[in-house]
Subunit: 258 residues, 2 copies
Amino acid sequence: MEKLSIVKIGGNIIEDQSSLKAFLKLFSSIEGKKILVHGGGKRATSMASKLGIESKMVNGRRITDAETLEVITMVYGGLVNKNMVAQLQAFNTNAIGLTGADVNSIVSEKRPVKDIDYGFVGDVKQVNFKSVDALMQAGFVPVFCAITHDGNGQLLNTNADTITSQLAIGMSHLYETSIYYCFELDGVLKDINDKNSVIKHIDSKIYKDLLNEGIIADGMLPKLENCFNALQHGVTTINMGNISMLTKENDNFTRITL
Amino acid sequence: MEKLSIVKIGGNIIEDQSSLKAFLKLFSSIEGKKILVHGGGKRATSMASKLGIESKMVNGRRITDAETLEVITMVYGGLVNKNMVAQLQAFNTNAIGLTGADVNSIVSEKRPVKDIDYGFVGDVKQVNFKSVDALMQAGFVPVFCAITHDGNGQLLNTNADTITSQLAIGMSHLYETSIYYCFELDGVLKDINDKNSVIKHIDSKIYKDLLNEGIIADGMLPKLENCFNALQHGVTTINMGNISMLTKENDNFTRITL
């Protein structure tokens, strides 16, 4: 099976123009088939505030009302995504910017209202991996923002980590698929206060041990749950660390396998 | 040669949700290969004003400073384009939303500063018709907004009529290409005050006569100049009228040929 790298970058890289440029240059140097997924970070929040739209958060998650969805569509789908595509073209990467509505690539379902009404938030239902592959077969590099659609004309705000793992699960029908989650840390740390304590490899057994020892907790727990779910559904390897893990010089990051 | 229809819609259709829906349904019913090009209309102006950005016009043309370009990228490339793509998907049209940066489809040059500095405005230099065709060959329907790029990472605001005609000229290397310019009028009128005076056919000779009689003037003059330029460079037919010309029932519109 041919290899495919899916790289996800978070808000803090996007917000700093020189970090973003350095990242896009690195991304362009990745050989073989690849896909980029990006979040939007604080730009949507600051744009909303400029427009006098209040950002409502519940348990750290954004409530997406109709006005907020408009801002997200403008900022993630337009401003961030299209500028990234233009910059990738300058690095000779033939990028194509996408939401889940484009080529009907990612269909989601509006989250049902239980205790909390999250508004226009979508949970991924289906990845049309053949359509995404058709773009790659034509020589293009997909760049996804964190927006999906319900198939009935409604765009939906969707978590970028989830898009990444669901896309990877879908693409693993056709490719030996690896995910690279780029974030601020060098990797999963054994001691949160010691940035030199990167755990270089985690598999199912080590993961269980780390859980028992209470080393994995807080924000890292759902991230790793999400990783093992992807691995159980066909993804080959997941890597977590800072963007330099995309070079061959740096081996100080966390590699996760089943 | 296979046939290709390129349809351009203006701002007034986009601004009214029910007109837009009616149009997208009609567009979806067009058989064979097709491309949609849209402007952005007044939404960019109203968004700019909400953000406290002054819209500067010179001779009826927008001056695109850095802030205005951001708004255009958000509104045309994000909000308008992606909502249109989602709605087309609901009509079973497998749409893909594009700027000229995506798949490097339309490369332009920042307009040189002479008497007026138009800012981040691009004049089309090259249409990569093979890349656009690769998307259509994969079964997708391109939906272009009025943004191009310079190949060096810079997005540029570009007139939607020009994008349409340049795209059509490019695609005519591969297809028997027709343009449909949808606007408020039923077609080119012999008497501007009589909406029943649609001129059903204009060719080079009739055009010369109409010019001599002073019937073509003002806003219609550059539009028709642009049309004959496209026809001279390979485009087969250009149609101008309201959206019902896309149905087979209405023959009350202007057909332009060489």
